[in-house]
Symmetry: C2
Subunit: 881 residues, 2 copies
Amino acid sequence: MSKQVYQFNEGQASMRDLLGGKGANLAEMTRLGLPVPPGFTITTEACIEYLENGKTISTELKKEIERHLVLLEDQEGKKFGSSEELLLISVRSGSKYSMPGMMDTILNLGLNDESVKVLAKMTNNEVFAYDCYRRLIQMFGNVVYGIDGQQFESLLDFYKSKYRVKQDSDLTSDQLKDIVEDFKRVYLENKRQPFPQDPKEQLLQAVEAVFSSWNNERAFVYRNLHNIDHFIGTAVNIQAMVFGNSGNESGTGVVFSRHPATGEKELFGEYLINAQGEDVVAGIRTPQSIHQLKKDLPECYDELNRLVNLLETHYLDMQDIEFTIDNKKLYLLQTRNGKRTAKSAVKIAVDMVSERLITKEEAIMMIRPESIVSLLYPVFDEKALAEATLISDKGLPASPGSATGKVYFDADSAKAAAASGEKVVLIRQETSPEDIGGMVVSEAIVTSRGGMTSHAAVVARGMGTCCVAGCSELEVNELVKQVTFPGGVIKEGDVVSVDGSVGALYVGAIAQNVAEQDENLEMILKWSRELARLEVRMNAETVNDIQTGLDFHASGIGLIRTEHMFFAPERLKEMRRFILADTFDERKMALKTILMYQIQDFKQIFATIGEKPGVIRLLDPPLHEFVPSNEKEFAKIAQDLNVPVEKIASKVNELHEINPMLGHRGCRLAVTYPELYIMQAEAIIKSIIALKKEKGIIVEPEIMIPLVGTTKELTLLKEKIVNYVDQLLNEEQCQVVYTIGTMIEIPRACFIADQIAESAEFLSFGTNDLTQLTFGYSRDDAGKFIHQYLEEGILMDDPFQTIDLEGVGELVQTAVVRARKTRPAIKIGVCGELGGDPRSIDFFNRIGLDYVSCSPFRLPIAYIAAARSQIEFQEKVDVNK
Amino acid sequence: MSKQVYQFNEGQASMRDLLGGKGANLAEMTRLGLPVPPGFTITTEACIEYLENGKTISTELKKEIERHLVLLEDQEGKKFGSSEELLLISVRSGSKYSMPGMMDTILNLGLNDESVKVLAKMTNNEVFAYDCYRRLIQMFGNVVYGIDGQQFESLLDFYKSKYRVKQDSDLTSDQLKDIVEDFKRVYLENKRQPFPQDPKEQLLQAVEAVFSSWNNERAFVYRNLHNIDHFIGTAVNIQAMVFGNSGNESGTGVVFSRHPATGEKELFGEYLINAQGEDVVAGIRTPQSIHQLKKDLPECYDELNRLVNLLETHYLDMQDIEFTIDNKKLYLLQTRNGKRTAKSAVKIAVDMVSERLITKEEAIMMIRPESIVSLLYPVFDEKALAEATLISDKGLPASPGSATGKVYFDADSAKAAAASGEKVVLIRQETSPEDIGGMVVSEAIVTSRGGMTSHAAVVARGMGTCCVAGCSELEVNELVKQVTFPGGVIKEGDVVSVDGSVGALYVGAIAQNVAEQDENLEMILKWSRELARLEVRMNAETVNDIQTGLDFHASGIGLIRTEHMFFAPERLKEMRRFILADTFDERKMALKTILMYQIQDFKQIFATIGEKPGVIRLLDPPLHEFVPSNEKEFAKIAQDLNVPVEKIASKVNELHEINPMLGHRGCRLAVTYPELYIMQAEAIIKSIIALKKEKGIIVEPEIMIPLVGTTKELTLLKEKIVNYVDQLLNEEQCQVVYTIGTMIEIPRACFIADQIAESAEFLSFGTNDLTQLTFGYSRDDAGKFIHQYLEEGILMDDPFQTIDLEGVGELVQTAVVRARKTRPAIKIGVCGELGGDPRSIDFFNRIGLDYVSCSPFRLPIAYIAAARSQIEFQEKVDVNK
């Protein structure tokens, strides 16, 4: 059997796995010679063994605990359970990761009907002794056996009102003795056994309770949610008690080395005089600011200040420290890296670099990329939010930020309302390209269907508009213009508030805190850009979005979608003429008009992005997206295009697809109608020729053919485009350097990436489609089950939000390895939604991609993620050297 | 430079790659000492070099040809192009595979205005000499330069009618001299150059023409269609002429060593007296039966008979031999394995085993698995078919066989018509489970949409009903009950004929030849079953189909679909009750009724299959397949189930999916509603308990969970089923051995097959879905482009018909290797449509699967394919030993 119990002076901070976070830090502080009450830690391995051995503590472990208890008694010169020089102890859980839901703390173990009298005598303080005892019974009953704490609390309240006292500490010892007797009765009634009088039994039961709490349901769910291994177990910390409740020169509190909300370098925290730890949590007495301690116990304050600074310098991070003062003597009970707001986090990180405590790399490693969202988008005021009425929080956080506005159910109403100055929230079952006009003018977009990569979600993120998608609790009826939700109904014009960062909707307006420019964040971002190896591009096609991305320092455009270039009314008309055409010549005529428009589109895009690289994806959607499915609209089109209505009906019927995602689109459409891609290539090249002449801007376009699954789709279309373009350049007597590459989004393409790379001059992973096909999930329909899959731990993450390493990841890596075998220097990027996800970015960085591309507003997050990944990656490389 | 020219006596049969089929066999016959006119072969490598060197014959090759020409002259004691002892030669192409569309044959090379006179003098036969010369000009002009043969033919006809002669051979030498002059004029007019007088120029031009014809369009398309490498090139055979047209003791013909249609062991063939090869093809003179030769030239006949038998025994296969008799001397010009009908093929193979010429293994290797379709299904009479009017042949050959019947457009009309004794052809845009009743009574099923694995195709193959799917030339209007096709309209009640083996429809009735039991086929199948390592199971769920499969010796059922167990009206009602239920209890109530029915269903299945294994796939389709999409039906359901119409409308709307293929179905549905799978498991187990009690049959069911993409979907559902079933067995005091496995049909599942195999007790590849997802093709929609993809060579095969090795194959192999790493003995099969495809079966055999499963009517083909694969596989293993 390996060693299962460690005295605090045997461990150190690096032993988190074995001793848990709390135990390792207690050991580290002991090692540093700080005033920590002595004790020992039972290892996480012992916990796992206990759970695997049918929940029995082995004889060996029992002996070890007893041996360490004797050591502790010797250290303290006291005896556990003895009737003289009484040693009391605390038991606390502590796993590697902080984890709510597990058993937490029991204080004052070792007290019983006899030793409470000894304690009273020893301390000459009966009130204190019985206060400790009633706390023990209450905590033990509640924490070890789950007896509802309210039963004890209400008894206490009853006594306090009976004797008309306000504070627990105002109770007399006789009153406390009565309370102890009543508490023991409550314990007996609930547990059907008397409160254990044997201190060692108390200890072992407490240890078992900590062990067992590892597998309680809340802890289990939490671990699933946070992707924590179920087999790492928790440690148990057993420590000599010191007493914050032993009089008015005692107390207990929590202190941060810097301000957790603002990041200012100052002690921040609170404490209670004459109290034990749980009093702070219970909130019965209002704790005092830590600065009051300077007045109350100035030596203690100075000592605390010294130790806090010492710990921060030692751990090189802002510390969150628990302390107790027992008769003017200061003890430290815990230290850990403190939780903080995003604003505080960036300030602390930047300040600590200025103070030469940490490096830029270490500063970046202190910032969770996702956390900075709140610095980029407006967030609801916390207080206002707490009072708001929830409509649903079951939506997907599709695009961050918050907004308030009046509800509209269709694009036209939304546009009209916005035009008249209203703030609009667009709610629909799902959105489609036809809704764009309404989406652009909305403060927030909400859908009842569709996932994180649905049309609504992608478009909203692109625009930086807050969006909640797939909120299945909403039943949206667009015809009668109302939404039914479990608690009521929302009608057109009602005001709602939408939180796209968490996926929630509220009734009425909620006050907001607006994001301000944060210079510390700017600094972190600058360092991140310097340290990242990956380039970060944006997915953008409008001048506005491109400008946003440039402001966030995008290194280029990773995805220029071209669908929208077909949808404006005058173009849609021509596109429909194309679709209804019977001959190649008719189709070419229709495209000629669209060509003229698209030359202008591309000129705008290239003029904005300048000489930075841009990947243009040629037309991707199937043709039926360009015709109405509603028969009522057929007549108008028939009139517009001068064709019989029957022909339109017949064409719409012919174009109908059962699974459009798997249908006649992307390069497949271009194989049937190469003239489509040739027209687009012509528009690109002509716009570039014009820009060169007009403004001297040299653009080198990267033309991307989507949905390639066979080598020949690519070679065939590439050849047609190259032939056409080269002839065009020849005629125009012009030179344009262009490359033709492909999107890798079909699983099969990953396997044949070596062949594809013979023809493709660059590759870009379309992770949305690749994920859809690898899992067989439709991003439009997966909302029906993906919530449940995440809740039940079938999926650890939504694969549309974070790359699935086992399936999609293996495909991506296979493709990269094979493509580079053929063409070692081929440029490879990612333009799917995962390009903006920190964990996915880490993967993409490690497998050696050249760039990721994401929505303009995700750029800061992506840069931090790319930098962190590179820092970790290099550390690993350095270690291996 | 490697050797580019081989004399016939330098080669042998095994050198097909280098010398082409014809050249290798000429060499082999020479080697055997048979009477082959001497000659030499220019290699396929020389052809490729020519094509890659910008179509120039290298100086080296020219020299080589000249050197071999000299050798040939020496052998023959004649001179090419000389004015005395004239040597004439033939030039013939010959690639590794017989390939229509390439340049074929030029005879009589070496003749010109001078040497024709020499020939006349040498042979003392001016008619013969000028006949040869006019043939040369005609063939050279036509074959080398593409001058329309009709120009020459009509001139010849003109002369024949002018001089009132019937046969070419009745023309006089003077008449022939005029014809030669006219032919030269035609040549000059077309080619704008005179017919080349230099024999060596004739030869080199002919060689270049053969080389170039490798890349002509017909050859290119043919190679694409037949999956032949474009870079293997063709050889050129140059051979001394012998003359079948040198008089009435000369002739030319073709003979088979056995009858190519019946397989009878007898010489079969035909010949023409006093003719050259092309006369047989031209069809101007009617050739005589080979038996006539016995009377005309008995020594030649006997010699021919002897040589034919010698060649068959040498090649160990039925031979197709070209011969020429030149003044009573017999020459062999070609031998090759003869093409034959399926009926003949099986007879020849079985006979040759009886004759101890070949082994059973070799016999099986003589049978192309697909070819036996015509022995299993009725086929249209060839003559009747030639006269029939085609409606379209652009459909997919979805289920083989042929049928004639009256057209109906919906299941109800089809049923009514069939009930009144009519033969019915059901034509629909596509079929759905609701159409089953109509499909069952139809002689043939035709759809205008959907692919080889669409509902119609799968169901039809299962029933052995002939089916043409995805015939996009048909515009089916089910409302007005008519089909528009390019040539007209078909209305309800019109008679059509359907050929499901090729995918064609015809107007009116066509006479059929019915398939009869063929004892030779039975023998081949028996041997195949003995030699196959793979087990072959059937996909079947009706008693009829299972019986068919058992008659074809299925080793079990590889796929029992259970969808149909929910669709009969009284069950559908309960299923809809289930769907509309608000509580778990309501759902359970609805399932209780379905359970009772399904116990009976499974009893029937298991009673039929007996103790052979059977894999039951739990419910796979999404819930919306159980509710009508047509609002008109809502009211009836509302009344039936006593719920408001709005509730139904709302539910139907909620269940709607944009891409149902990628939606909430299979195990995903069971994660949401585990009670569905538990009910099915209960039905399976209860039926088995009952069968055991009633009939003593011991069934060990294999329960398959579909659409698994994550390990936990499987473990979760398996645990629930096992818990329930084990409790049930406990209550019933019964033992049933059952296993739970999964379908591998999601790409991701292939990557995690190692994890899946920890829980799955067997695996079965669902190649339909796996192919859909690997390519991103919807089998329902791919019809829109897959034709074109095949035509343009983007796809070599329809991946739904033959496994795609590069994508799907790699996934399958990955899954097998990983699964076996975890569980080496895990049983792995295939139950998708590819399980019945010979080339796919070969792959599945080679990677070590345990079984394939296919439609009952595919079993014979699958057994032959499995045996052939195993024979080839073992040969390879033996070679490697």
